[in-house]
Amino acid sequence: MKNKLEMLRKQLGITQEELANKIEVSRQTISSIETGRYDPSITLAFKIANFFNKKIEEIFIYER
């Protein structure tokens, strides 16, 4: 699954550490999501979407 997390985070001008602290996950989790090595749970995906004030499908792109 692809995502626009890195782009959105950079648009806000915050670091991975800051984003991680805001949504209460580890920095490594943010890094893994950004590089596509880890797909977040639906709960975390909602948290991320809420943080950026967007819909989940605007951040995470499902690929068949």
Binding site: A20, N21, L44
Partner: protein
């Protein structure tokens, strides 16, 4: 927080009492196995209680580090990593036990050694079925 401190104080004190009771039994020539067990349980409880009390004090004095630790513990990726690591270790251990059984049989080890290893594998399979069914109903 206060309740946790109190609980851990009680655990540590219980540990000390069990340890002292072990000494008392040792001086009265009671079964050495029992005194040894009491020493182990007593020192274990004391250690756990004391460590938890120190951790709670440390968390109070360093709220940022405590928060960081809480995030690390509750982080969903870390949880998945823990589950995967545990599962992999169990699978590896299972193969190791199978190899040990084969080696024990080949070198003509006593039958109780082979049977106890086989027992572990059977127990593992039974536990797998039971726990899988519990999770299957609840998740």
């Amino acid at each position: 927080m206060f309740n946790k401190k109190l609980l851990n104080c009680v655990i540590a004190l219980t540990g000390i009492l069990i340890f002292i009771f072990g000494f008392y039994l040792m001086n009265n020539d009671v079964n050495k196995g029992l005194t040894g067990t009491l020493f182990s349980i007593g020192s274990g409880l004391f250690g756990v209680g004391l460590a938890n009390i120190f951790t709670l004090f440390y968390s109070q004095k360093n709220p940022e580090k405590a928060k960081w630790k809480e995030i690390q513990v509750n982080d969903e990726r870390n949880k998945i990593l823990k589950y995967k690591t545990g599962s992999t270790i169990c699978t590896v251990n299972w193969y190791i036990i199978c190899v040990l059984i084969a080696i024990a049989s080949a070198i003509g080890a006593p039958i109780w050694i082979i049977l106890s290893h086989l027992g572990i594998i059977v127990l593992d399979a039974i536990l797998y079925i039971i726990i899988f069914n519990i999770y299957n109903k609840n998740i």
